[in-house]
Structures are given as C-alpha cells and as structure tokens.
Amino acid sequence: MISFNLLILVSLGYVAFLFLVAFAAERRAASGRSAWLRSSSIYTLSLSIYCTAWTFYGAVGYAARSGLEFLTIYLGPTIVMIGWWWFLRKLVRIGRSQRLTSIADLISSRFGKSTVLGVMVTVLAIVGTTPYIALQLQSVTQSIAVFAAQSGEVWQAGDLAGAAMWVAIGLAVFTVLFGTRNLDASERHHGIVLAIAVEAVVKLLALVAVGVFVVWGVAGGVGPTLDLIDASVQAQWAPVPSRWVGLIFVSGAAFLCLPRMFQVMVVENADERHLATAGWAFPAYLLLMSLFVVPIAVVGLDLMPEGANPDLFVVTVPLAQGREGLAILAFLGGFSSATSMVIVATLALATMVSNHIVVPGWLNARTPGAVVSGDVRDVVVFSRRLSIGVVLGLGYIYFRLSGGGAALASIGLVSFTGVIQVLPAMVGGVVWRGANRWGAGAGLSVGFVVWAWTQFLPSFGVDGALSQAVFDHGPFGAGWLRPQALFGIEGMDPFVHAVFWSMILNAGAFMIVSIVTFPNPLERLQGAQFVKIFDYSSGARLWTQSAAQAEDMLVMAQRIIGGAKAQSLFQAEAQSQGKEGFLPDVTPDFIDRLERELSGSVGAATAHAMIGQLTEGTMVSVDDLIAVADETAQIMEYSNRLEAKSAEQERTARALREANEKLTALSIQKDAFLSQISHELRTPMTSIRSFSDILRDKDVGGDDRERFAGIIHDESNRLTRLLDDLLDLGVLESGQVQLNLGHGTLAEVIDRAVMAAGADDAGLTISRRPANEGVALHTDLERLTQVFINLISNAAKYATTETPELRIIVRQTGGRCVVDFCDNGPGVPKESQSMIFEKFSRLEDAGKAGGAGLGLAICRQIMAALGGDVTYLPAQGGAAFRVTLPQSVELAAQ
C-alpha cells in the first residue's frame, strides 16, 4: 500500500524541482547563456500544453465512452501543424513584427488598435477558459483522492475543495513569480517555458510508461491488445460523420485560438524557423500521447469493476495492478498536464485582462496628460499579478460551483467551441484586408451569444441554467429559438449544432458587416500590414513629426519598460541618428518603434493611447489626412495651372519670335523691292532723259528724230505699264480690289484670253479640249481672263522650241475645277520654281522677257482675291501652271 503522505512528499518535491528548473532557466537567460532555451525542441515541447489533464485523464475516459472519436482532438491540431507553412508562419511573423502580447492583442491591433475588441476577446477568453481551469483543478484533486482512497482515507467534498485551493494558490505563486518578472509580455518567459517543457517530457513519459505497461505487462503484447479491443464494447468503430468532421475542425481551430496556445506558439516564439521543426515534431508528440489511449481504456474497462470512472484509468489501472511507482509517475504526468496548462492559460489571460481591461481603465480614469506622472510600470505589474489571482480564483470558484461532477471531455468541448468564436475575426483579419472592426465586433458578439445559448448554458444540464421548458419550447414559447434546435432544425447532434450555428452566424455577421461598413485609416493601415506581412518589414508609421520631447518620452518609457531597457533603447536610437547621449531626435520612425516596444508590455491599444496622449494631437487623424489630401490636390492643380501658363507663354514667345522674323524678312523684302523698283523705273527714265536731251540740245535729223521719239514713246509706255502693274499689285495686295462679278463659261474666258494674248503671232500652237470647258462660272471674268492671258503669253515668251505648243487642259481634281497650262518649252528649273511667283523674279535677263517680272505675282494675287490659286505644276515636260478655280465656280457649274 502506497502511503498518501509519500505521494504528497513526491508531489511537493516535484513542485520544488519545477521551481528550481524555472529559476535556473531565468538565471541562465539573465546571464546571456540562453541559446538552448531558445531551441526548436524547447519550443515544440512548450506547445504540448495543448495536452492538458483532459488529454491525460480525459482521453482515456473519452475512448472508453466513444471509441476512436477522442482522436479528433489531436487530428485537428495535426492538420494545423503540418500546414504551418500556410497559416502559422504568417501568424508568427505578425506576432513578432507587431509585438503582440495575446490573441486579444492580435484582434485589437489588427482592427485599428481597438480597445473594445480587446475587451470582447478578453471576456470571451475568460468565459471560455475558466471552466477549463476548473477542469484541471478537478482532475488533480480527483487523482489525489484516488491515492487517498488507496491509503484508506475517503475524501469528502471539503477535502477536495481544500486540495484544489492549495493547488490553485501554488499555481498562482508560480505564475506570479515567473510570469511577471519581465513586464514585456512579448518577451519570452524562460522559466515558465522551460518548466512546461520539462512537464511535457514528464507527462509523455508517464503516459507512454502506463501504455507500455498495459500493452505488454497486462494485455500481453500488441496482438492480444488488438484482440482485447475487438472484444470490448468499443469493438466496432462507427463514427458519426458530422461529429467526426466537426470535432476535427473545432480542435484545429481551438489550437489556433486558445489563449494559452497563442501564448506559447506566437508570443513565446523565438525564431520563426522553429515552426519547421514543430511542424513535424509536435504531430509526432500528439501521436505518442494518443497511441496508448485506446489500449489503456480497453484494459481498464476489462479489469476495473463496473462503474469505475474511466477518466482515472491512467492512475487506477497501475494501482490495481500494484504498481505504485508507475501510479505515482502517472499522477505526476497528470499533475504536469494540469499545472502547465493552468500556468500558461493564467498568464495569457492575466496579460489580456491587464492590457485590455485594467490598464486602459486606469488610463481613462486619469486626466489626459497626467499619464506620465504616474508610475505605469507598477500599475501594469500589479494589475497583471492581480489578474493572475483573479483568473485562478474564477477557476476555483467555477470548480466549487460545478461540484466537479460533469465528465471531463464535455467541459473541454464547451470551452473549445467558446474560444474558436475568435477564429473568423482572426483568420479574416490575417487574410482579408476588407475585414474591419465593426465586422469583427459583430462576428464576435453573434458567435458568443449563439455559443452561450446553444452550448454553454445547456452544458449546465436540464434545469441547470435553462429550464426543461426552454429546451422543449424555446424561450417565451419561441420554438425556433430552442437551444438545441435553432430555426427549428432538429435532430442535429447538440455539439455539431452549436458549432455549426455559432460559426456560420459568426462568420456571416463578420463578413456582411465588414462589407457594408467602412474602416478607419488606422485599421486599413494595420490591415495592410497584417495581410501583407511578408511585404512589409517595418510597421505602420502613423506619427508625424512630434511636438513631444524626447525627455518626456524617456520618462514615460522608463516607467513602463524599466529604466535600463528604456535607456538602452534611447541610446541605441540616438547612436543610430549619430548623436551622443540618451536623447534622440523624436522622429516618426522612433515614435513608431517606441510604441511597438511599449505595446510589447501593455498591448497595442494601450501603447497607442499612451503615446497619443504624450504626442498630443500630432497623431494623424482622418481630418488631417483629408486636409493633406486636399492640400496636395490644390498644389497639384496650381502646378498644373502654372504649367499651362508657362506653355502658353512659350507659345506667345514663339509667335512673337515668328512675327519678328517675318517683320525682319518683310523689311528686307521691302528694301529689295524698293531697290528693285527704283532700278526698274530708272532704266526707262534714263533712256527717256537721254533721248529727250539729244532732241533738245542737238539738231537731230528727221529719221533719227523719229526714231528717238519712238524710243521715248516706247519707254514711257513701258514705264506706264510698269506703274499700272505696280498699282494693280498694290491694290491686289492690300485686299481692296473691287471684283466685278459676272456669269459666263470657262470656254469663253479661255477664248478671249487666247485671242488677247496674241499667241498666234508668236507661232504658239494651242491645243484645247472644248468638251471639258463648258464649266459655268460666276466670278470676275475680266480678272480671270487677265490671269489666263498672262499664262499664255508667258508660254509664248518662254517656250523656245521649234514648234512651241501649249496645252490647256480643264479637269476636275479633288472636287475642284483646275485649268492646266502646259507648254513644251524648257520649263522652270527646280531651284527657281519657288521663286517665280515673287515680284520682279525673272528667269533670265529682263530684256528678253520684256516685262517687269510682275505678271505671275499679279496672277497669284488675282487668284487669291477670287478665292482660287495658281501654282507651278512640275514634271509635265515643260513649264506648266495650274489654275485652281474658285469654289463658287464649281457650285455654279453644278
């Protein structure tokens, strides 16, 4: 017979050992030799707090009642763990880069550092976790009671309660000692982590030892064990499909959402790469933990008397076989499972309570700006210690109230379903940028209410929290609200029913509200940071150049994260800015970093609020952002206007430059024209003067006299013609020409021109096609005839071949009527073609042409005045001119 006192002694020794381990770990970490404390194996073992007393004792009971269904609780986390690359990696990265302190902090931080959401998640976590803590206390006291019974003492309820109280107090002391040494909750708690790693090994060894004993010591090997299973009441495995799938889902989700799991998996994570190891090692751990559960259950059912509590088979089977040592090891395993869970859960909850409820409340209670004067550090540490006490106290009270009666597994499932109400907000927040705080709040509230109604309240049993009438007919006779048949859908397994409706309604509310509401800028910033965590390395920069003084900040930081740490932080920052001493420039970057440091201690929302109070008004608000955007738009508009203006000015300058060039050219032209005209006038004038001198001074004979007078006459005629031309040109150029409009046909005009030009005298053959010439005209026929005469006489003058010929071709080109005058002379050289319409331009010397060189210039001016044009037509085998008739001509012709 094992002595009960021996058990107590061993337990106390074990507890002392754990305290020593934790102290040693803290000391090593403090002295900087903590590398192995940060190893991936320690990380993996710390994850084992997933396996609580529920696993250690409850799984066997579960297997004894429902066969293989207990495995779902471990298969879910296995899926999550081997899929670490997909989701956990992101979660851990976010946790590290945002310095998250808890799952409430994750939700609060993601949704705009919202205090309200932090409180909601905290409350949900407390409600979901308190029964679970009670469950651990219950399992420890029950197992102690087993040993007490062995040594002849029969424990009463009071003894159980007393033992539970002492266990709770011990756990509180441990958690306070090792959980609140550092204020920075996002820092690793080496003592606790190492202690739970040791406990992880102990519980695994204990369960495996019991399993090996049962399989090989009692059943007689693997084969007989399997036979025993086939012969048991659980021989056939008939899983309920909805439960099987639902349980795998819930356990996988709970693995992510349980506050204690978030604590060890994300907050205490030292290196992302540890996930790769944990990704296979933790499933292996779970496998070993579950491997012997069914054999123990079956052997227990076989050996133990009818009515024995299967939840305690792990201890009672070895005891019944007289293996006290093994039984004590099993007890220690169960004790480890329970205590490690309680320690971490309490720590996680206490962090949440202090960061999201106590400290914000304390801050609100003070007048703004007075924050810095108080010693925040003490407040935070005190509130966290107090919270640890409160959380454990709540667990103890729940244990006392529940009377420790219900089967362990059912409490576990209720708790799991409660905490996974965070899942939609968590997963949505991490993968969906559109998720916002209204959606998260709605989802959490709806999920919490549905869970409470369909599972939590019914878990107290019929006539516990809800009366039989409510179960049967719904509240106030509203049948569609029956807690286990929502919307009148009956026949679902109560557990699946609760999970299904709470998740569907939770996720639905979350998504719909997120879609129809609008997030604030901080949320959108945080959303981008969370969802695209692998794109962003640094955090959201939300602080503008601050009015806050570095000294004030240092004062505050020292009060929150401690003197040494704050000073080294400020010093490092100053150094990186190239300054001496402890006071760096207060840059947005620095404020940002400081906020993140502080949030590691007091949570994102509180840190944000504190910095906000200190930097008072320098935080970018929506209005500021809009103002900035407006200003930017204005500046852009102004610059656009400037640009347009400068373009306009450039255009004006160019136009001025062009005008200037034109004026210069015109002035040159005028000079040339004047010199040209004086030359043209002087030549005949000189002749006239000379011959008139001769006639006056000398006695000139009859013939000569007649000849000289003829010359004078000719020259004055030429002079007159020149002056006529000049006058004509002047009138035409000035645009003051009087047009004498009349009706006629093109043929008439050409006839008259040919006749007037005297082409026949020059021996010029003119070929025409009268059929085309019947174009009716409405224009100044005289002027048009003048143009044609000019062109024909030009041809007569310049077509210097043996048989000069002129073709007058009338055709319609491009919708206009054109008349081409093509001769077979030498034509106009290419370089001169642009010149011929200028005044006084003559291809050869003046004498030969016998004109002043104004003809074509006048032609062009006439045609312009008539609304047509005359151009030189190259490449026609001689000189060729094209007269484009005015538009009105064609209209008249049609």
């Binding site: 298969l75 990265r93 310095r99 299973i229 056939q236």
Partner: protein, 116 residues
C-alpha cells in the same frame, strides 16, 4: 543562396493608406533557376499537405459498416496511426528542404537592435 526575394520585396513601409501595391516590388520573374523552382514546388507541397491530411482523415467515414466484423476499432486505429506516421514523415521531409525565403529580414526583433 540562390533565393532572391522573388515574390515580394522588403521595403520600408511608409504611410500607405489605401494599402495599395505601390511598394517598390521586384518584378515577377517568369523563369527561375532550378533550385528556386524546386523551392516553389516544395512550398506547394507544404500547402497541399494539410489538405491531403484532412481528406485522408475523413476517409474512414466511407468505410462499410454493415456487419459486426466491418469497421473495427482496431482497424481504424491502425489506419489512423499509420496515416499519422506518414504525415509526420512527410512534414519532417518538408521541414528539411523548405527554406525560409526571407530569413534575414525575419530576424524581427533583433533587427532594430533593441532586443536582447
């Protein structure tokens, strides 16, 4: 290391309200060298593994259970534990070959020199 920040580029985030993708990204590379290509496929495998696991865990629901000798708990145990071992082995294999694409910047806390 042949890995480059292929999928994403690390850049200091500044105020980015729309959260739009205005960050300076390394343009996507269409053709990777062999080892980078292999890494991508390992990542595919890592993402696929939990899906396969879930499907195979749900599979026994379809087992025939018409007679007393079908769908035995012992058979279920053997199936599930063998599956479990395979999954652990697969995850182990992947953990050996998968490389973290941005381990350097993942230094996280150490990066700003304020930690430890």
């Amino acid at each position: 290391m042949t890995e480059k920040p292929l999928e994403t580029a690390q850049s200091d985030a500044s105020v980015d309200l729309g959260g739009s993708d205005l960050k300076g990204r390394v343009p996507r590379v269409e053709f990777l060298d062999r080892s980078a290509y292999r890494q991508r496929r390992f990542r595919d495998a890592a993402s696929l593994l939990p899906v396969i696991a879930a499907v195979l865990m749900i599979l026994p629901l379809a087992w025939p259970r018409d007679t007393q000798t079908q769908g035995l708990t012992s058979d279920g145990m053997i199936y599930l534990f063998v599956l479990w071992i395979m999954l652990v082995l697969a995850a182990f294999g992947l953990s050996r070959v998968l490389r973290f694409p941005d381990t350097k910047s993942a230094g996280g806390r150490g990066k700003d020199g304020t930690n430890e």
